[in-house]
């Protein structure tokens, strides 16, 4: 190979690129699909150029994740109700704090609903976030019915004329049928307090998760209809590549990314920035 000016073979280049894709949690199926795309898209000569291969991949990945959703239609519903769901420990409660603060700073009146009535100190945790965001928290009794707490919060928001309700729910694995049924019930019951609720159902996904995040997205989507994704913990070393497969298969847009543990650590999702970071 050195005889030919030290140029790599196509197989070598693709193998090196494959490693980048896999270690970013892009997964076997999506990585193979991306490499197939690059093989068709580029000429034989370009396929030997790692830079050209990377650029082609970046463009295709950015295209897949750039679902360009419209901005949240806060004016379309009063209150505008956002429901946060996801498996255990991904960052739902923390993210509600961040979003609450963001909306409060924009001059909206926000109510947070402590819909996790199960886990130890869950309501207390949300109350502290309510303080940090400058926002009211409505909670129920520990062990109470989450649907009732959220119903109360939405009704209170209606009578107060609040702009937004953000509903926290307990973390749960998508494989647990009774817990998924509970979530469906929460969704049905809040519509009784306000017809169009929930206006958004956000799935919170942890960037450290591997391929299981795809199963999470499928199951939560099947149960509730997910309207947006929030990808947390991108301040760590995990790349969150699994969302490429999620966007490709389910066409659900990533709305925000979480990049830390303080109230400010939330950013709107930027497809280009996300794609660049995959290859760093």
């Amino acid at each position: 190979r050195v005889l030919f000016g030290g140029k790599k073979s196509v197989e070598q280049v693709l193998e090196e690129v494959e490693e980048v894709l896999f270690t970013a949690d892009i997964g076997v199926k999506t990585s193979q699909r991306l490499l197939e795309f690059v093989r068709k898209e580029l000429s034989g000569k370009d396929l030997q150029d790692p830079a050209k291969v990377r650029d082609a991949l970046k463009a295709e990945i950015a295209r897949i994740v750039d679902l360009n959703p419209p901005p949240f239609a806060y004016d379309s519903s009063k209150p505008f109700v956002m429901m946060m769901v996801g498996v255990n420990g991904v960052g739902k409660t923390t993210t509600i704090g961040k979003i609450g603060r963001r909306l409060n700073e924009k001059g909206m009146s926000v109510i947070m609903a402590a819909g996790d009535t199960f886990r130890a100190a869950a309501a207390e945790q949300l109350e502290i976030w309510g303080d940090r965001a400058g926002v009211q928290v409505i909670r129920g009794q520990d062990g109470g019915d989450p649907a009732a707490v959220i119903y109360d919060a939405v009704s209170a928001a209606k009578s107060k004329g609040a702009d937004v309700v953000i509903a926290d729910t307990a973390g749960r694995l998508h494989t647990k049928v009774p817990l998924m049924e509970e979530l469906k019930k929460v969704k049905r019951v809040m519509a009784k307090a306000h017809e169009t609720a929930p206006n958004e159902v956000m799935l919170v996904v942890d960037a450290n998760n591997g391929q299981n995040a795809i199963a999470q997205a499928r199951e939560f989507n099947e149960a509730l209809g997910i309207t947006g994704i929030i990808l947390t913990k991108l301040d760590g070393t995990a790349k969150g590549g699994v969302i490429i497969g999620i966007c490709d298969e389910l066409k659900i847009p990533v709305r925000y990314i979480g990049i830390g543990e303080t109230v400010e650590d939330l950013r709107p999702f930027d497809p280009k920035e996300f794609t660049e970071a995959l290859f760093e």
């Binding site: 255990n88 945790q125 976030w129 494989t175 450290n208 391929q211 299981n212």
Partner: protein
């Protein structure tokens, strides 16, 4: 399932007479794909496949009348070797009170697992003392106090203004006075690249000289498991790992990655949110789940 895929791969080879190296390569490819789909780290997969290949290219498979069985046998043996033996539980030798630290990334299940271990220790005739040393996460101290209350076990009275190293030191002193023989320290979740917070863990370790430092890792963790585990191990010299949320459908390849990266034993597996949802680690169960 992998065994079905391999059966198909080997079936295609029958009638071609003896197996060739190329045939073995196809079977290796099946194994590789399965492990990657299970979230085993890319480099760990490479090392694993190489060790399987070395054995599979031997006459044992090539001359065998049942190459598929022989091949699968090698894969299972290599996987079992990598996963280590059955867990022996916690290291409870040494003069009490023994300190134990729960460490790991944010949200991995440290606080809940600490509660589970406290319950397990009571069932093993110990007197655990729960110590909230997470002063950062909102209501973290509250969370551990609540779990202690559910278990009717004593909990150190930390407050958010305290320093986690002081909390740990004072809790150990209190345990000595009160006759608690195991001190379980809950630490805040942190990134392995957060140097000041990793230093805090090293300082807690220096202050209490723990009998166990357990990395609590989420079974759904992907490729990054290697980077996280390696850094926690380098900084603290872990004594073991607790793999949480195994009650889901994650294949759990992170278990193999973490084991390969650190050589440290997986001691326990979390299988639910309740405090009784803890099992001793059995490598064969986890191995067959990873292989798929």
């Amino acid at each position: 399932a992998l065994s079905e895929k391999l059966a198909i791969t080997f079936k295609k080879l029958r009638g071609h007479g003896k197996l060739s190296e190329a045939n073995i390569q196809d079977a290796l490819k099946d194994v590789r794909m399965s492990l990657l789909e299970a979230d085993v780290n890319y480099k760990v997969v490479k090392t694993f496949i190489d060790s399987v290949k070395t054995r599979a290219m031997g006459t044992a498979v090539l001359d065998s009348l049942t190459p598929a069985q022989q091949f699968i046998k090698i894969v299972n043996e290599e996987l079992a070797a990598m996963m280590g033996g059955d867990s022996k539980g916690l290291n409870l030798s040494g003069r009490p009170p023994l300190a134990m630290m729960m460490v790991g990334l944010q949200g991995s299940g440290k606080t809940t697992s600490l509660g589970k271990l406290a319950r397990w220790l009571v069932l093993n005739n110990r007197k655990p003392f729960l110590v909230p040393a997470d002063v950062y996460r909102p209501a973290a101290i509250d969370q551990l106090k609540t779990l202690a209350g559910q278990l009717e076990l004593p909990c150190f009275d930390s407050s958010t203004g305290d320093n986690p190293v002081d909390i740990s030191r004072r809790a150990l002193a209190e345990a000595l006075v009160q006759g608690h023989d195991v001190v379980l320290i809950d630490t805040a979740g942190r990134l392995q690249v957060d140097e000041p917070l990793m230093a805090e863990l090293r300082n807690i370790k220096a202050a209490v000289n723990p009998a166990e430092i357990l990395l609590v890792a989420d079974a759904m963790t992907g490729q990054d498991a290697v980077n996280v585990a390696r850094k926690f191990d380098e900084d603290l010299n872990l004594t073991g790992v607790v793999l949480t949320k195994m009650d889901g459908d994650a294949r759990g390849g992170a278990a193999l990655s973490i084991r390969a990266a650190t050589g440290k034993p997986i001691k326990f597996v979390g299988i639910g949110e309740k405090l009784d949802a803890l099992e001793i680690f059995h490598p064969d169960r986890v191995a067959s789940r990873i292989l798929g």
